[in-house]
């Protein structure tokens, strides 16, 4: 069985947010409630100002704290693929997983709209979902947190389970440049223009993602939490590095 993982080369990432947009389109996200996001960090004061960015999906951790705290087992680790998924039929919206995730990648979207106007009022839903967008993807699997988010539950990036899980068995990497595999590639990886993202099987020694992690000393965000993310970052220092702090620096 595969253990899918992602490698993001920070030296190549331009912070263009194509990944964020593709994810939002693929997964019918509400504006601002981005499962995949590129975070920007500004530091310093004029004239010594720097701006860095940091792409951040859900890390589908090997040892996820969100899974261990869930009181209903709604959040679970899929043994076939290593995805961390949410069963919306079991989620009670207690938000314990949101509190326990060190990376802030979970979303309870019943709250005030992040972006105005509130798109939920523009395209209201009548079937218990957050909204009814004019375009929506065909995939809908509440037991895996796929589709338009219902009310009262938490959601998160699924590593595009609905695509990746259909990939041919035994394949080492899902590369958008291989025509027969491109339909199985997560949306954020497929659209990455500078090809900063790679997706493959971390348990397959022959996978390109493993080679990248080994050759370029891939690191994981806040490894000290013990969550062991399945997303690795590469940084040679040319651009942004993996942030040490979870918040911006308070320079006031």
């Amino acid at each position: 069985m595969a253990k899918w993982g992602m490698v993001i080369d920070l030296d190549k990432c331009t912070g263009c947010q194509a990944c964020t947009t593709a994810c939002s389109m693929e997964n019918n996200r509400l504006p601002g409630e981005n499962w995949q996001d590129v975070l920007f960090y500004t530091e310093g004061k004029y004239p010594n100002v720097s701006m860095k960015w940091f792409p951040r999906p859900c890390f589908h951790c090997e040892n996820p704290s969100c899974v261990s705290v869930c009181p209903t087992k709604a959040t679970y680790k899929d043994p076939d693929g290593g995805f961390v998924l949410i069963d919306w039929n079991k989620c009670i919206g207690c938000k314990y997983c949101q509190v326990a995730c060190p990376y802030g990648v979970r979303f309870f979207t019943d709250e005030k709209a992040v972006v105005q106007p509130d798109i939920r009022e523009v395209f209201p839903s009548s079937n218990g979902r957050q909204w009814d967008p004019p375009y929506k993807g065909p995939q809908d699997d509440p037991s895996r947190g796929i589709g338009i988010q219902p009310h009262g539950v938490v959601s998160k990036c699924t590593f595009c389970y609905h695509k990746v899980s259909k990939a041919p068995k035994g394949v080492a990497d899902l590369d958008e440049d291989i025509p027969e595999l491109k339909e199985y590639v997560p949306a954020c990886v497929r659209v990455c223009a500078p090809k900063a993202r790679f997706f493959g099987d971390l348990d397959n020694p022959a996978s390109y993602v493993n080679k990248l992690i080994a050759d370029k000393r891939g690191t994981r965000l806040k490894d000290e939490t013990g969550n062991k993310p399945q997303v690795y970052y590469l940084s040679g220092g040319a651009a942004g590095g993996v942030p040490g702090l979870r918040s911006m620096k308070d320079e006031g």
């Binding site: 975070l39 951040r56 705290v69 209903t72 919206g93 326990a100 990376y103 019943d110 918040s247 911006m248």
Partner: protein
């Protein structure tokens, strides 16, 4: 002479308040959903309703601890307090759980999804299991005392179990926060222990205040065993509990102020707020002084005031702890400021009032139904 303040006026006021606040909260929740709360995905997930729920829950377990300890170790002179504490514990729990039900995304689903999930790795699962056992034991002990089955006989074995359940609920509530190592403001091995002492202090404060409330804030109207308790052991134990809690509060604040760890900068923010000083000086130090001075220790007005101040202080402490642990956003970059700001919405405030009115309505009903002030009952 035993003379109670008539419960019906309190019951009527509480019911009227309950109707108004519940109607306001329910209307806002029905029309706005959880957008009526001021939480956000920037990092504030558990907001004021959780503060209210935890406060009422821990107050309830504290009252149960006071009752169970009195039953197990205390003599007959503790008797007047026990039934009131047990019923108050139940009333507080009802108020807290009602607020929690309105905070959850799917409260009805929680009723079956939590117990039958057997999510053994989740502190919340264990908390719910312990709360179920706690409620059952609370009713059993209260029932046995009301059957007149004896002061220390039939009620003592379940009281021991009740004490363990109350300690379990409180300790696990501490684990829920203390185990969050990614949030240094919350995380510490001493949190479950601090919660237990905080809960015990809350139990003592509520027991004292509501005893006075039931007797029109007059010691003259109390039966002599109760008067003796309030003149003797009770204020001393109360003072000791304040001291222990003060040590936890001050040591946590001092370490927080000295530390450079990310997350603990929240302490600078909290200490700069007047709320913290009200909690510390008005809510803890002043009551401690009142309980230490011989002139005020046995004075009814001073005791009731001290109890009320501690009750307020503990609520501020709960608010600062739960909200403070979420003020540093988790990886939101420039989308969030270095420190989030939060103030409860009107709907959230109404839930606090709803819990207060609901708990008081249940308590006032029990006061008249079970004649909680009566020494003869359960004796």
């Amino acid at each position: 002479m035993t003379e109670n303040v008539k419960s019906p006026p309190i019951l009527m006021i509480a019911l009227a308040g309950l109707v108004v606040t519940a109607a306001f909260a329910l209307f806002n929740l029905a029309t706005q959903g959880h957008a009526a709360f001021n939480g956000s995905n920037l990092g504030l997930h558990w907001t004021f309703p959780i503060v209210v729920y935890d406060y009422f829950l821990l107050t309830s377990t504290g009252l149960a601890m006071v009752a169970a300890l009195s039953l197990i170790f205390g003599g007959a002179h503790c008797q007047p307090l026990v039934r009131r504490c047990l019923w108050l514990a139940l009333a507080g729990l009802v108020g807290g759980v009602a607020v929690l039900a309105l905070e959850l995304g799917h409260p009805l689903r929680a009723v079956w999804a939590i117990p039958f999930s057997f999510a053994l790795s989740s502190p919340l699962w264990w908390k719910v299991i312990f709360v179920i056992a706690y409620i059952v034991l609370l009713l059993v002990v209260f029932g046995r005392l009301n059957q007149g089955g004896g002061w220390s006989g039939a009620a003592r074995p379940p009281a021991i179990l009740l004490l363990l359940a109350a300690l379990g609920v409180t300790g696990i509530a501490g684990v829920v926060y203390g185990s969050m190592t990614m949030r240094p403001f919350w995380s510490s091995g001493d949190v479950p222990v601090a919660f237990i002492f905080e809960s015990l202090l809350g139990g003592l404060a509520f027991a004292m205040f509501f005893t006075y409330l039931a007797h029109g804030f007059s010691q003259e109207r109390m039966p002599s065993p109760l008067k003796g308790l309030l003149a003797g052991m009770m204020p001393k134990v109360f003072a000791l509990a304040i001291v222990v809690h003060l040590m936890f509060v001050s040591s946590r604040a001092l370490i927080g102020l000295y530390s450079n760890a990310e997350g603990l900068q929240v302490w600078q923010h909290l200490v700069a707020s007047p709320l913290f000083h009200i909690e510390l000086w008005v809510g803890l130090v002043l009551p401690l002084i009142l309980m230490l001075l011989k002139a005020t220790r046995g004075n009814g007005a001073a005791q009731a005031l001290a109890a009320l101040l501690v009750m307020i202080s503990l609520f501020i402490a709960r608010y600062d702890y739960i909200i403070g642990g979420q003020l540093v956003p988790l990886f939101k970059g420039a989308w969030a400021p270095p420190l989030l700001s939060y103030a409860p919405s009107l709907t959230e405030w109404s839930l606090l009032l709803m819990a207060i009115f609901l708990a008081n309505a249940v308590n006032a009903w029990g006061e008249s139904r079970f004649r909680l002030s009566s020494c003869e009952q359960g004796g």
